[in-house]
Amino acid sequence: MSLLQQILPAAIVAMAVAAGVCGFALFWGKERARGAIGPLALGIAYLVGHLMIAGWTSFPPADTTNWLPYFALAAAVLGAFFALLPITAWARVVIFLLVSTGALRLLLKPKFQYGWSLGEGWAWVACLGGAIVLLAIVLDALARRPATTVEMPVFLLIVSAGTSGALMLTGSMLLGQFAAALAAAVFGCHVFALRKVALGRGVVPVFSLVVSALLISGYFFAELPAASAVLLAFAPMPALIYVGRSNKLLALGIRAALVSVPVVLALVLAFRSSPALDY
Protein backbone atom coordinates (compact mmCIF):
# COMPACT_ATOMS: atom_id res chain seq x y z
CA MET A 1 0.00 0.00 0.00
CA SER A 2 2.73 2.46 0.98
CA LEU A 3 4.56 1.51 -2.22
CA LEU A 4 1.48 2.49 -4.22
CA GLN A 5 1.20 5.73 -2.25
CA GLN A 6 4.79 6.49 -3.21
CA ILE A 7 4.51 5.60 -6.89
CA LEU A 8 0.98 6.72 -7.80
CA PRO A 9 1.45 10.50 -7.51
CA ALA A 10 4.67 10.33 -9.56
CA ALA A 11 3.03 8.13 -12.21
CA ILE A 12 -0.06 10.34 -12.47
CA VAL A 13 2.00 13.54 -12.71
CA ALA A 14 4.37 11.99 -15.30
CA MET A 15 1.33 10.89 -17.32
CA ALA A 16 -0.27 14.34 -17.07
CA VAL A 17 2.95 16.14 -18.03
CA ALA A 18 3.47 13.86 -21.04
CA ALA A 19 -0.14 14.29 -22.15
CA GLY A 20 0.04 18.05 -21.58
CA VAL A 21 3.23 18.54 -23.59
CA CYS A 22 1.95 16.21 -26.34
CA GLY A 23 -1.25 18.26 -26.36
CA PHE A 24 0.70 21.16 -27.89
CA ALA A 25 1.18 19.02 -30.97
CA LEU A 26 -2.56 19.09 -31.63
CA PHE A 27 -2.33 22.82 -32.26
CA TRP A 28 1.01 22.75 -34.05
CA GLY A 29 0.74 23.29 -37.75
CA LYS A 30 4.09 22.21 -39.11
CA GLU A 31 4.62 18.44 -39.31
CA ARG A 32 8.36 18.59 -38.68
CA ALA A 33 7.97 20.83 -35.63
CA ARG A 34 5.34 18.47 -34.26
CA GLY A 35 7.92 15.67 -34.33
CA ALA A 36 9.95 17.54 -31.72
CA ILE A 37 7.09 17.44 -29.23
CA GLY A 38 7.17 13.66 -28.64
CA PRO A 39 10.75 13.44 -27.32
CA LEU A 40 10.32 16.57 -25.21
CA ALA A 41 7.08 15.18 -23.74
CA LEU A 42 8.65 11.84 -22.89
CA GLY A 43 11.89 13.36 -21.56
CA ILE A 44 10.27 16.05 -19.42
CA ALA A 45 7.59 13.68 -18.10
CA TYR A 46 10.20 11.11 -17.08
CA LEU A 47 12.32 13.81 -15.43
CA VAL A 48 9.35 15.02 -13.39
CA GLY A 49 8.33 11.45 -12.43
CA HIS A 50 11.87 10.53 -11.41
CA LEU A 51 12.30 13.65 -9.28
CA MET A 52 8.96 13.03 -7.58
CA ILE A 53 10.12 9.54 -6.60
CA ALA A 54 13.74 10.24 -5.66
CA GLY A 55 13.36 13.85 -4.55
CA TRP A 56 15.76 16.58 -5.50
CA THR A 57 19.34 15.37 -5.18
CA SER A 58 22.64 17.21 -5.25
CA PHE A 59 24.36 17.92 -8.57
CA PRO A 60 26.32 16.08 -9.77
CA PRO A 61 24.34 13.22 -8.23
CA ALA A 62 26.27 10.91 -5.91
CA ASP A 63 24.02 7.96 -6.68
CA THR A 64 24.58 7.50 -10.39
CA THR A 65 21.00 6.29 -11.00
CA ASN A 66 20.00 9.89 -10.32
CA TRP A 67 21.73 10.84 -13.58
CA LEU A 68 18.72 9.31 -15.38
CA PRO A 69 16.53 12.46 -15.46
CA TYR A 70 19.47 14.39 -16.94
CA PHE A 71 19.97 11.62 -19.52
CA ALA A 72 16.27 11.85 -20.36
CA LEU A 73 16.50 15.60 -20.81
CA ALA A 74 19.66 15.40 -22.93
CA ALA A 75 18.14 12.65 -25.10
CA ALA A 76 14.91 14.68 -25.41
CA VAL A 77 16.82 17.67 -26.75
CA LEU A 78 18.72 15.33 -29.07
CA GLY A 79 15.46 13.72 -30.25
CA ALA A 80 13.94 17.16 -30.88
CA PHE A 81 16.98 18.19 -32.95
CA PHE A 82 16.78 14.93 -34.90
CA ALA A 83 13.14 15.71 -35.65
CA LEU A 84 13.78 19.33 -36.61
CA LEU A 85 17.03 19.11 -38.55
CA PRO A 86 17.76 17.12 -41.69
CA ILE A 87 20.49 14.90 -40.25
CA THR A 88 21.67 11.78 -42.08
CA ALA A 89 21.07 8.36 -40.51
CA TRP A 90 24.80 7.77 -39.98
CA ALA A 91 25.24 11.14 -38.29
CA ARG A 92 22.33 10.31 -35.96
CA VAL A 93 23.94 6.98 -35.05
CA VAL A 94 27.32 8.56 -34.35
CA ILE A 95 25.85 11.43 -32.29
CA PHE A 96 23.64 9.07 -30.29
CA LEU A 97 26.56 6.68 -29.73
CA LEU A 98 28.64 9.56 -28.35
CA VAL A 99 25.83 10.70 -26.03
CA SER A 100 25.22 7.10 -24.87
CA THR A 101 28.94 6.57 -24.22
CA GLY A 102 29.09 9.71 -22.09
CA ALA A 103 25.97 8.66 -20.21
CA LEU A 104 27.34 5.16 -19.58
CA ARG A 105 30.62 6.56 -18.29
CA LEU A 106 28.68 8.63 -15.75
CA LEU A 107 26.29 5.81 -14.85
CA LEU A 108 29.03 3.24 -14.36
CA LYS A 109 31.44 5.52 -12.46
CA PRO A 110 31.35 3.30 -9.32
CA LYS A 111 32.36 0.25 -11.38
CA PHE A 112 35.34 2.22 -12.73
CA GLN A 113 36.18 3.18 -9.13
CA TYR A 114 35.78 -0.18 -7.39
CA GLY A 115 35.41 -2.98 -9.89
CA TRP A 116 37.09 -2.55 -13.26
CA SER A 117 40.42 -1.63 -14.69
CA LEU A 118 40.30 1.30 -17.11
CA GLY A 119 40.51 -0.99 -20.15
CA GLU A 120 37.87 -3.35 -18.81
CA GLY A 121 35.58 -0.42 -18.03
CA TRP A 122 35.83 1.13 -21.46
CA ALA A 123 35.29 -2.29 -23.07
CA TRP A 124 32.02 -2.58 -21.11
CA VAL A 125 31.04 0.97 -22.08
CA ALA A 126 31.77 0.26 -25.76
CA CYS A 127 29.70 -2.97 -25.75
CA LEU A 128 26.79 -1.44 -23.84
CA GLY A 129 26.89 1.70 -25.99
CA GLY A 130 26.67 -0.52 -29.08
CA ALA A 131 23.69 -2.37 -27.54
CA ILE A 132 21.87 0.92 -26.81
CA VAL A 133 22.44 2.07 -30.40
CA LEU A 134 21.15 -1.30 -31.67
CA LEU A 135 17.97 -0.88 -29.58
CA ALA A 136 17.59 2.64 -30.99
CA ILE A 137 17.99 1.31 -34.57
CA VAL A 138 15.28 -1.32 -33.94
CA LEU A 139 12.90 1.27 -32.45
CA ASP A 140 13.67 3.69 -35.26
CA ALA A 141 12.83 1.01 -37.82
CA LEU A 142 9.51 0.41 -36.00
CA ALA A 143 8.77 4.13 -35.80
CA ARG A 144 9.27 4.57 -39.56
CA ARG A 145 6.52 2.07 -40.36
CA PRO A 146 3.19 3.54 -41.45
CA ALA A 147 1.04 1.98 -38.72
CA THR A 148 3.06 3.36 -35.83
CA THR A 149 0.71 5.97 -34.38
CA VAL A 150 -0.58 3.45 -31.85
CA GLU A 151 1.97 0.67 -32.30
CA MET A 152 5.03 2.46 -30.94
CA PRO A 153 3.46 3.52 -27.62
CA VAL A 154 2.07 -0.01 -27.15
CA PHE A 155 5.52 -1.58 -27.64
CA LEU A 156 7.22 1.01 -25.45
CA LEU A 157 4.58 0.53 -22.78
CA ILE A 158 5.02 -3.26 -22.76
CA VAL A 159 8.81 -2.95 -22.47
CA SER A 160 8.81 -0.23 -19.80
CA ALA A 161 6.13 -1.95 -17.72
CA GLY A 162 8.05 -5.24 -18.01
CA THR A 163 11.25 -3.46 -16.96
CA SER A 164 9.46 -2.01 -13.95
CA GLY A 165 8.16 -5.44 -12.93
CA ALA A 166 11.51 -7.16 -13.39
CA LEU A 167 13.39 -4.52 -11.38
CA MET A 168 10.88 -4.67 -8.54
CA LEU A 169 10.97 -8.47 -8.51
CA THR A 170 14.75 -8.52 -8.25
CA GLY A 171 14.92 -6.38 -5.17
CA SER A 172 15.01 -2.76 -6.18
CA MET A 173 11.67 -1.07 -5.70
CA LEU A 174 13.26 2.29 -6.42
CA LEU A 175 14.57 1.35 -9.87
CA GLY A 176 11.25 -0.36 -10.55
CA GLN A 177 9.46 2.86 -9.66
CA PHE A 178 11.68 4.83 -12.06
CA ALA A 179 10.72 2.37 -14.81
CA ALA A 180 7.07 2.79 -13.82
CA ALA A 181 7.49 6.57 -14.24
CA LEU A 182 8.82 5.90 -17.74
CA ALA A 183 5.83 3.65 -18.49
CA ALA A 184 3.47 6.35 -17.19
CA ALA A 185 5.17 8.96 -19.38
CA VAL A 186 4.80 6.68 -22.41
CA PHE A 187 1.14 6.15 -21.53
CA GLY A 188 0.64 9.92 -21.23
CA CYS A 189 1.98 10.36 -24.75
CA HIS A 190 -0.28 7.46 -25.84
CA VAL A 191 -3.44 9.46 -25.02
CA PHE A 192 -2.75 11.81 -27.89
CA ALA A 193 -1.39 9.07 -30.11
CA LEU A 194 -5.00 7.92 -30.31
CA ARG A 195 -5.82 11.38 -31.67
CA LYS A 196 -3.47 10.75 -34.61
CA VAL A 197 -0.51 12.54 -33.09
CA ALA A 198 2.32 10.09 -33.57
CA LEU A 199 5.08 9.94 -30.98
CA GLY A 200 7.45 10.00 -33.92
CA ARG A 201 11.04 8.91 -34.33
CA GLY A 202 12.21 11.60 -31.95
CA VAL A 203 11.25 9.56 -28.88
CA VAL A 204 13.66 6.79 -29.85
CA PRO A 205 16.79 8.33 -28.25
CA VAL A 206 14.90 9.14 -25.03
CA PHE A 207 13.34 5.73 -24.58
CA SER A 208 16.45 3.79 -25.67
CA LEU A 209 18.75 5.66 -23.32
CA VAL A 210 16.47 5.71 -20.26
CA VAL A 211 15.29 2.10 -20.45
CA SER A 212 18.85 0.88 -21.11
CA ALA A 213 20.20 2.93 -18.20
CA LEU A 214 17.55 1.38 -15.94
CA LEU A 215 18.39 -2.15 -17.06
CA ILE A 216 22.13 -1.52 -16.71
CA SER A 217 21.61 -0.08 -13.21
CA GLY A 218 19.46 -3.11 -12.36
CA TYR A 219 22.16 -5.51 -13.51
CA PHE A 220 25.20 -3.76 -12.03
CA PHE A 221 23.77 -2.20 -8.87
CA ALA A 222 20.80 -4.45 -8.02
CA GLU A 223 20.18 -8.14 -8.71
CA LEU A 224 18.55 -8.09 -12.17
CA PRO A 225 19.71 -11.23 -14.01
CA ALA A 226 21.70 -10.53 -17.18
CA ALA A 227 19.29 -12.69 -19.22
CA SER A 228 16.31 -10.60 -18.07
CA ALA A 229 18.12 -7.37 -18.94
CA VAL A 230 19.03 -8.61 -22.44
CA LEU A 231 15.52 -9.97 -23.09
CA LEU A 232 13.92 -6.68 -22.07
CA ALA A 233 16.39 -4.55 -24.02
CA PHE A 234 15.73 -6.41 -27.25
CA ALA A 235 12.05 -7.22 -26.69
CA PRO A 236 10.92 -4.79 -29.46
CA MET A 237 13.00 -6.70 -32.05
CA PRO A 238 10.40 -9.43 -32.84
CA ALA A 239 7.94 -6.66 -33.81
CA LEU A 240 10.02 -6.16 -36.95
CA ILE A 241 8.76 -9.52 -38.24
CA TYR A 242 6.39 -9.05 -41.18
CA VAL A 243 2.89 -10.17 -40.14
CA GLY A 244 0.85 -8.93 -43.12
CA ARG A 245 -1.21 -5.79 -43.63
CA SER A 246 -4.73 -7.10 -44.23
CA ASN A 247 -6.07 -6.41 -40.75
CA LYS A 248 -4.25 -3.58 -38.93
CA LEU A 249 -5.70 -4.42 -35.53
CA LEU A 250 -4.78 -8.09 -35.89
CA ALA A 251 -1.27 -7.14 -37.00
CA LEU A 252 -0.93 -4.87 -33.97
CA GLY A 253 -2.14 -7.68 -31.71
CA ILE A 254 0.33 -10.16 -33.18
CA ARG A 255 3.24 -7.73 -32.94
CA ALA A 256 2.32 -6.80 -29.36
CA ALA A 257 2.20 -10.51 -28.50
CA LEU A 258 5.62 -11.00 -30.13
CA VAL A 259 7.06 -8.16 -28.03
CA SER A 260 5.40 -9.58 -24.91
CA VAL A 261 7.06 -13.01 -25.25
CA PRO A 262 10.61 -11.90 -24.29
CA VAL A 263 9.15 -9.52 -21.69
CA VAL A 264 7.24 -12.37 -20.00
CA LEU A 265 10.36 -14.56 -20.16
CA ALA A 266 12.39 -11.78 -18.55
CA LEU A 267 9.79 -11.48 -15.79
CA VAL A 268 9.83 -15.23 -15.16
CA LEU A 269 13.63 -15.21 -14.88
CA ALA A 270 13.48 -12.19 -12.58
CA PHE A 271 10.83 -13.89 -10.44
CA ARG A 272 12.98 -17.02 -10.15
CA SER A 273 15.91 -15.00 -8.85
CA SER A 274 13.68 -12.82 -6.71
CA PRO A 275 15.01 -12.24 -3.19
CA ALA A 276 11.42 -12.04 -1.85
CA LEU A 277 11.13 -8.92 0.26
CA ASP A 278 8.37 -10.32 2.45
CA TYR A 279 10.26 -9.76 5.68
Binding site: S2, L3, Q5, Q6, A54, G55, T57, S58, P61, A62, D63, T64, T65, N66, P110, Y114, G171, S172, M173, L174, L175, S217, F220, F221, A222, E223, P275, A276, L277, D278, Y279
Partner: protein, 190 residues
Protein backbone atom coordinates in the same frame (compact mmCIF):
# COMPACT_ATOMS: atom_id res chain seq x y z
CA UNK B 1 72.26 30.10 7.14
CA UNK B 2 75.44 28.76 8.78
CA UNK B 3 75.70 24.93 8.89
CA UNK B 4 75.74 24.95 12.72
CA UNK B 5 72.52 27.01 12.84
CA UNK B 6 70.91 24.72 10.26
CA UNK B 7 71.74 21.62 12.33
CA UNK B 8 70.49 23.30 15.54
CA UNK B 9 67.18 24.29 13.91
CA UNK B 10 66.80 20.76 12.56
CA UNK B 11 67.39 19.28 16.02
CA UNK B 12 64.79 21.63 17.55
CA UNK B 13 62.23 20.65 14.92
CA UNK B 14 62.90 16.96 15.47
CA UNK B 15 62.56 17.41 19.24
CA UNK B 16 59.27 19.28 18.85
CA UNK B 17 57.96 16.58 16.52
CA UNK B 18 59.03 13.83 18.93
CA UNK B 19 57.38 15.60 21.88
CA UNK B 20 54.13 16.10 19.99
CA UNK B 21 54.14 12.46 18.95
CA UNK B 22 54.76 11.48 22.56
CA UNK B 23 51.64 13.42 23.64
CA UNK B 24 49.25 11.66 21.29
CA UNK B 25 48.35 7.99 21.57
CA UNK B 26 47.28 6.09 18.53
CA UNK B 27 44.65 3.34 18.75
CA UNK B 28 43.74 0.87 16.05
CA UNK B 29 40.00 0.14 16.15
CA UNK B 30 39.28 -3.45 17.16
CA UNK B 31 36.25 -4.63 15.10
CA UNK B 32 35.58 -7.54 17.47
CA UNK B 33 35.07 -5.33 20.51
CA UNK B 34 33.56 -2.31 18.75
CA UNK B 35 29.90 -1.90 17.82
CA UNK B 36 27.93 0.18 15.35
CA UNK B 37 24.25 -0.09 16.25
CA UNK B 38 21.46 1.87 14.62
CA UNK B 39 17.75 2.21 15.18
CA UNK B 40 14.96 3.63 13.06
CA UNK B 41 11.23 3.93 13.67
CA UNK B 42 9.19 1.28 11.83
CA UNK B 43 5.57 2.00 10.83
CA UNK B 44 5.61 4.85 13.33
CA UNK B 45 5.31 2.28 16.11
CA UNK B 46 8.61 1.38 17.65
CA UNK B 47 12.34 1.52 17.15
CA UNK B 48 13.81 -1.25 15.03
CA UNK B 49 17.48 -2.12 15.69
CA UNK B 50 20.26 -3.22 13.37
CA UNK B 51 24.04 -3.24 13.35
CA UNK B 52 27.14 -3.27 11.22
CA UNK B 53 29.35 -6.23 12.04
CA UNK B 54 32.58 -4.67 10.82
CA UNK B 55 34.42 -1.42 11.45
CA UNK B 56 38.02 -0.32 10.99
CA UNK B 57 40.00 2.83 11.55
CA UNK B 58 42.31 4.70 13.84
CA UNK B 59 41.88 7.07 16.74
CA UNK B 60 44.69 9.42 17.68
CA UNK B 61 44.12 10.78 21.16
CA UNK B 62 46.02 13.57 22.85
CA UNK B 63 44.98 13.81 26.49
CA UNK B 64 46.79 17.12 26.98
CA UNK B 65 45.34 18.84 23.94
CA UNK B 66 42.13 17.32 22.52
CA UNK B 67 42.40 19.53 19.45
CA UNK B 68 45.36 17.42 18.34
CA UNK B 69 43.26 14.25 18.42
CA UNK B 70 41.78 12.71 15.29
CA UNK B 71 39.36 9.95 14.33
CA UNK B 72 39.09 8.08 11.03
CA UNK B 73 36.57 5.26 10.66
CA UNK B 74 35.35 3.01 7.86
CA UNK B 75 32.29 0.77 8.04
CA UNK B 76 31.69 -1.68 5.16
CA UNK B 77 28.02 -1.60 4.11
CA UNK B 78 28.23 -5.33 3.28
CA UNK B 79 28.55 -6.00 7.02
CA UNK B 80 25.01 -4.80 7.78
CA UNK B 81 23.10 -7.22 10.00
CA UNK B 82 19.42 -6.89 10.89
CA UNK B 83 18.84 -10.57 11.72
CA UNK B 84 17.04 -11.12 8.41
CA UNK B 85 19.03 -11.98 5.30
CA UNK B 86 16.25 -10.76 3.00
CA UNK B 87 16.08 -7.42 4.76
CA UNK B 88 19.89 -7.09 4.73
CA UNK B 89 19.85 -7.70 0.98
CA UNK B 90 17.17 -5.05 0.53
CA UNK B 91 19.07 -2.56 2.68
CA UNK B 92 22.15 -3.12 0.50
CA UNK B 93 20.11 -2.55 -2.69
CA UNK B 94 19.74 0.80 -4.54
CA UNK B 95 16.61 1.43 -2.43
CA UNK B 96 18.78 2.22 0.58
CA UNK B 97 22.59 2.03 0.90
CA UNK B 98 23.29 0.97 -2.73
CA UNK B 99 26.27 -1.06 -1.52
CA UNK B 100 27.56 -1.81 -5.01
CA UNK B 101 27.91 1.91 -5.68
CA UNK B 102 28.90 2.98 -2.18
CA UNK B 103 30.64 0.07 -0.43
CA UNK B 104 31.68 2.00 2.68
CA UNK B 105 30.44 4.47 5.25
CA UNK B 106 33.26 6.74 6.38
CA UNK B 107 33.89 9.32 9.07
CA UNK B 108 36.80 11.73 9.32
CA UNK B 109 37.03 14.14 12.22
CA UNK B 110 37.75 17.80 11.59
CA UNK B 111 37.61 19.20 15.13
CA UNK B 112 37.73 17.64 18.58
CA UNK B 113 37.24 19.63 21.75
CA UNK B 114 36.74 18.81 25.42
CA UNK B 115 38.63 17.67 28.48
CA UNK B 116 38.64 14.72 30.87
CA UNK B 117 36.42 12.01 29.47
CA UNK B 118 33.84 14.06 27.57
CA UNK B 119 34.54 15.34 24.10
CA UNK B 120 32.70 16.89 21.20
CA UNK B 121 33.78 15.38 17.91
CA UNK B 122 32.94 17.18 14.68
CA UNK B 123 33.67 15.73 11.29
CA UNK B 124 32.45 14.59 7.91
CA UNK B 125 30.20 11.56 7.74
CA UNK B 126 29.84 10.00 4.29
CA UNK B 127 26.91 7.68 3.65
CA UNK B 128 25.49 6.72 0.25
CA UNK B 129 28.09 8.95 -1.40
CA UNK B 130 26.85 12.07 0.39
CA UNK B 131 29.13 13.84 2.86
CA UNK B 132 27.63 15.92 5.66
CA UNK B 133 29.22 17.51 8.72
CA UNK B 134 28.09 16.09 12.04
CA UNK B 135 28.92 16.67 15.68
CA UNK B 136 28.66 13.94 18.30
CA UNK B 137 29.32 13.76 22.04
CA UNK B 138 31.95 11.15 22.81
CA UNK B 139 32.38 9.73 26.28
CA UNK B 140 35.79 8.19 26.75
CA UNK B 141 36.28 5.18 29.01
CA UNK B 142 39.37 4.46 31.07
CA UNK B 143 42.28 2.62 29.47
CA UNK B 144 42.53 -1.07 30.26
CA UNK B 145 44.53 -4.19 29.44
CA UNK B 146 43.54 -6.28 26.44
CA UNK B 147 43.82 -10.04 26.01
CA UNK B 148 47.37 -9.88 24.66
CA UNK B 149 48.55 -7.54 27.38
CA UNK B 150 48.23 -4.49 25.15
CA UNK B 151 46.76 -1.27 26.48
CA UNK B 152 43.27 -0.74 25.12
CA UNK B 153 41.13 2.38 25.14
CA UNK B 154 37.83 3.51 23.78
CA UNK B 155 34.51 5.16 24.37
CA UNK B 156 31.03 5.68 23.08
CA UNK B 157 29.18 8.22 20.98
CA UNK B 158 25.42 8.49 20.47
CA UNK B 159 24.00 10.72 17.79
CA UNK B 160 21.11 11.05 15.38
CA UNK B 161 21.16 11.69 11.63
CA UNK B 162 18.43 12.07 9.02
CA UNK B 163 18.72 9.51 6.25
CA UNK B 164 17.06 11.92 3.81
CA UNK B 165 20.12 14.20 4.24
CA UNK B 166 22.10 11.40 2.65
CA UNK B 167 19.68 11.03 -0.30
CA UNK B 168 18.23 7.86 1.19
CA UNK B 169 14.56 8.69 0.76
CA UNK B 170 12.97 5.33 -0.04
CA UNK B 171 9.84 4.58 2.03
CA UNK B 172 10.07 7.75 4.09
CA UNK B 173 7.06 7.66 6.34
CA UNK B 174 6.58 3.93 6.95
CA UNK B 175 10.28 3.87 7.77
CA UNK B 176 11.42 6.83 9.84
CA UNK B 177 13.76 9.53 8.64
CA UNK B 178 15.72 9.86 11.87
CA UNK B 179 18.35 7.20 12.47
CA UNK B 180 19.81 6.88 15.95
CA UNK B 181 23.36 5.61 16.01
CA UNK B 182 25.37 4.15 18.87
CA UNK B 183 29.05 3.95 18.12
CA UNK B 184 31.08 2.06 20.68
CA UNK B 185 34.78 1.94 19.95
CA UNK B 186 37.60 -0.05 21.46
CA UNK B 187 41.11 -0.13 20.13
CA UNK B 188 44.57 -1.31 21.03
CA UNK B 189 47.25 1.31 21.63
CA UNK B 190 49.87 1.15 18.88
Amino acid sequence: MKPSKFIFTGMLCSLAFALSALGADSYKVDPVHSSVIFSVKHSGVTEFYGAFKDISGTVTFDAADAAKSAVELTVPVESIDTRSEKRDQHLKSPDFFNAKQFPAITFKSSKIEGTGDTFKISGDLTIHGVTKPITADFKRGPDGKGGQGKTVGGGEARFTIKRSDYDMKFMLGPLGDEVNIILSLEGAKQ
